[in-house]
Each structure stands twice: as structure tokens, then as C-alpha cells.
């Protein structure tokens, strides 16, 4: 067993590059999904029915489809419509679009829970739309939604592992590769499991500190 871990240690650069890819993939798609969420959420709450309807269809649709299937469709299905993407682009796109739906729902919930009066005070004091959002709405909203967004980020990290199926060289793929070449399944995958665990702990620490900042202002 120790010998097995020794082999894994020898292959650490592959494992670490897998970890790096997982991290990059997750961070990029989380940021992009959040930004996209900020576009979809107003659409969800729009008074124009076709817009709200389309946004609701998108959000509910993404939540009813398994992510793996969605990734397959982007990677294997789009080519038959003439769009051929490599596995990195497919993976990033799939993660971003899929989680944008969840982020939109999270932001909508956080917005609904925000007290209305301070925002109305902003209007009364002459703040208009963009400035009102940037200075008086955005930060309290993010502070309130922090823990839930953190959970979603953990979900994104775990979803990224599915992309091993389209041969994206992330962490699970690296562990698979090590195990299939050296026949050290336990050592390889357990190491991967603990690396995933570490990533999640980092996120949870981040969420806690946001929680403390939020509490001081609650």
C-alpha cells in the first residue's frame, strides 16, 4: 500500500496539473455562471411575459436535465448541428450554462429576501438605476447570497469531475490515468478524493469569512 502511494507521489505532477485544471475550470465557469446569472435573474422577474417565460423555461430546464447528459449534448450532439467544439470549450460551456440557471435562481431568492426600504431610500436620495445597483444593491445582495453561492461552487467542482468522460484532463481523469497505467486504484483515487475535499474546505473557509463580514453588517 505504501508502495502504491509512492507511485502516486511519483506521478504527482500529473495529479497536480489535474487539480489545477479542475480549479481553473471551476473558478472560470463559476464566475461566468454568476455573471450570466445576473443577466438571467432580471429576465426571470421581467414584466414582459415572453422574457420571463423564456428565462423560467431555461432555469427549470437546466434543473431537470442531468449535467452529464448536458455535457454530452454539447460535446457530441452539437457537431451534428455544425458546431464542433474541443473538450475544454465544451466542458467550460456546459458548466457555465448549466450553473447559470442555478445562479439565477439563487440570486432571485436572495433579491426577494432583501429589505425594500433601503433601496427605496436610495431612489429617494437621487440614485438612479446603474448607480443604485452598483453602490447600494450589489454588495448586500452578494453578502446575503454568499453561503448559497459557495455551495453552488462546491457543486461546480464536483460536476467538473464528470468531464473526465469527454477526456478533459481534470483531477479525476488524472487519477484514472495513473490507476490504469500503474494498477494503484485505491491510492490514486483516494488521493484525488482528498484533494477534492481540500478544495471544498477552501471554499467553506471562504464562505465563513464572507459570513462574518455579512454578520457584522446584519
Amino acid at each position: 500500500m505504501i508502495h502504491d502511494f509512492g507511485i502516486v507521489w511519483d506521478e504527482r505532477s500529473l495529479l497536480l496539473s489535474g487539480l489545477a485544471n479542475t480549479t481553473i475550470l471551476s473558478v472560470l465557469s463559476a464566475a461566468a455562471a454568476l455573471l450570466l446569472g445576473f443577466v438571467v435573474t432580471p429576465a426571470l422577474m421581467s414584466k414582459r411575459r415572453p422574457v420571463a417565460w423564456a428565462a423560467r423555461g431555461f432555469v427549470d430546464g437546466m434543473r431537470c436535465v442531468p449535467f452529464l447528459l448536458f455535457a454530452y449534448i454539447i460535446y457530441y450532439g452539437l457537431p451534428s448541428l455544425g458546431v464542433r467544439l474541443d473538450n475544454w470549450t465544451s466542458g467550460l460551456l456546459a458548466l457555465t450554462i448549466y450553473n447559470a440557471a442555478y445562479m439565477a435562481e439563487i440570486l432571485r431568492g436572495a433579491w426577494a429576501a432583501q429589505p425594500r426600504e433601503p433601496i427605496e431610500a436610495g431612489t429617494a436620495f437621487g440614485f438612479s438605476e446603474v448607480r443604485l445597483f452598483r453602490r447600494l444593491i450589489l454588495l448586500p445582495l452578494l453578502l446575503a447570497a454568499g453561503p448559497v453561492i459557495g455551495n453552488q461552487m462546491i457543486q461546480i467542482i464536483k460536476d467538473s469531475a464528470f468531464l473526465t468522460i469527454i477526456a478533459l484532463p481534470e483531477l479525476t481523469h488524472a487519477a484514472s490515468s495513473i490507476q490504469s497505467r500503474h494498477y494503484v486504484p485505491f491510492a490514486a483515487f483516494i488521493t484525488a478524493v482528498f484533494l477534492y475535499w481540500g478544495l471544498c474546505l477552501v471554499i467553506e473557509v471562504g464562505v465563513s469569512s464572507i459570513g462574518r463580514v455579512a454578520d457584522a453588517r446584519r
Binding site: 447528459l69 464528470f162 486504484p185 485505491f186 483515487f189
Partner: protein, 215 residues
């Protein structure tokens, strides 16, 4: 895509639903057991459970599945794709269920428990008649949510060769060189199942909030 192809995907659906049900039915009580171990603060064991749950919640299902499928034979436990799949699903869902149950237990009003003690109920009876019915009620939305999440991760079983909806669809797409139609059929099968569960969850939440408002 022929009728035979659609039938193949439907057979995959049977596998998906069956394995999901098995995973849910075994995972629910195990999750409750884990939650009780933590709530009762059994020394050492509670800590182990806490770490176990934390690690499992952070582990992607595909990684866990590959770990079980490849590592267990190495230590002498024979596994086939289906048993590895069930084991991975159960481990995964029990960890998430544990947190749902635990939230209900932690928020259980202590005075109800003390009232039961003061009328002489013993531990088993207290639990069965007073605690359990109420934490089931409180946990229901979270547990149903977890069920819908479980259905959505079942495609990962395709990785070890279990022919579920996704693997059947992929296989047909590879044979016919038209991947999109079988994928769309797959969506048409997953979506209603998930939708039913999500609607069930919303219905439960609505009924509970009405009951609370009336109380």
C-alpha cells in the same frame, strides 16, 4: 432512430429508476443512522461520522464510483458494475441525507423531548412516537430534493458500464452516427422524473407552510 432504439433507451430508464430507488431506499435509513450517531454525540464515532460525511459530500460521484469499482477487487471484494453503482449511490446519498436529518434533529424543540421524558416515556418510545414523526415531516422537502439530485447523477453509472438511460442513448448515437435524437429522448425521460420530484417537493413545502400558518 428506430422503435427498437427507443425501446433500448426505455430499458435503460428501467435500470435508472430501479438503481435510483434502491439507492434512495437504502440511503434514507443509513443517513438517519449517521445523523443520530452525530446527534447523540457518541464519542469517537460521532467525529468519524462527521469526517466521513464531510469527505463524501465533497467527493464527486464519478470519482467515488471509480474508486469503488477498481479498488475493491484489489482488496479481495468482488464487484460488478451494478453493485459498485449501488454502493456509490448509497454512500453518496446517505451523506447528504445525513445533513438533512441532522438539521431537523438539531432544530428539534428540546422541550417536547423533555415533556416526553417527564411523562415517563423511555428512549425507544420517545424516539418512535415523538421525535421521528416530526423530523420526518421537517426533513421531507430536503430529502425529496436529494432524491431529485440523485436521479440527476445516475448517468455517471455509465462510466462503469451500467446501461442506464444515458449509456443507452450514447450507444445508439454511436451506432447511428446521429447522436442528437437519442439524447433528446433521454432528456424526455429524465425531465419528467425530476420534474415530478421537484413538484412534489414544492407541494410538500406549500402544504407545510399552510399548516404552520393555520396553527
Amino acid at each position: 432512430m428506430t422503435a427498437g432504439d427507443v425501446l433500448a433507451i426505455l430499458r435503460g430508464a428501467v435500470v435508472t429508476v430501479t438503481l435510483s430507488l434502491v439507492g434512495i431506499l437504502i440511503g434514507l435509513p443509513i443517513g438517519l443512522g449517521l445523523a443520530l450517531l452525530r446527534w447523540a454525540n457518541v464519542p469517537v464515532v460521532a467525529k468519524i461520522v462527521a469526517v466521513y460525511v464531510s469527505v463524501l459530500r465533497a467527493t464527486p460521484l464519478v470519482t467515488l464510483l471509480l474508486l469503488l469499482f477498481f479498488a475493491l477487487p484489489n482488496i479481495g471484494i468482488p464487484v460488478n458494475p451494478v453493485s459498485a453503482a449501488i454502493l456509490a449511490l448509497v454512500m453518496n446519498t446517505s451523506a447528504f441525507n445525513c445533513e438533512v436529518w441532522r438539521a431537523a434533529l438539531v432544530n428539534f424543540p428540546k422541550d417536547q423531548y423533555e415533556a416526553a421524558q417527564s411523562v415517563g416515556m423511555r428512549a425507544g418510545l420517545r424516539f418512535r412516537r415523538i421525535v421521528l414523526p416530526q423530523i420526518v415531516r421537517v426533513s421531507l422537502p430536503g430529502l425529496v430534493n436529494e432524491m431529485s439530485l440523485l436521479i440527476k447523477v445516475t448517468p455517471v453509472l455509465a462510466v462503469v458500464g451500467v446501461v442506464d438511460i444515458t449509456r443507452a442513448a450514447v450507444r445508439i448515437g454511436a451506432q447511428t452516427y446521429e447522436p442528437l435524437p437519442p439524447f433528446l429522448v433521454a432528456i424526455a425521460l429524465y425531465a419528467p422524473i425530476v420534474f415530478v420530484l421537484v413538484s412534489l417537493q414544492r407541494w410538500i413545502e406549500r402544504r407545510q407552510s399552510i399548516a404552520e400558518a393555520a396553527a
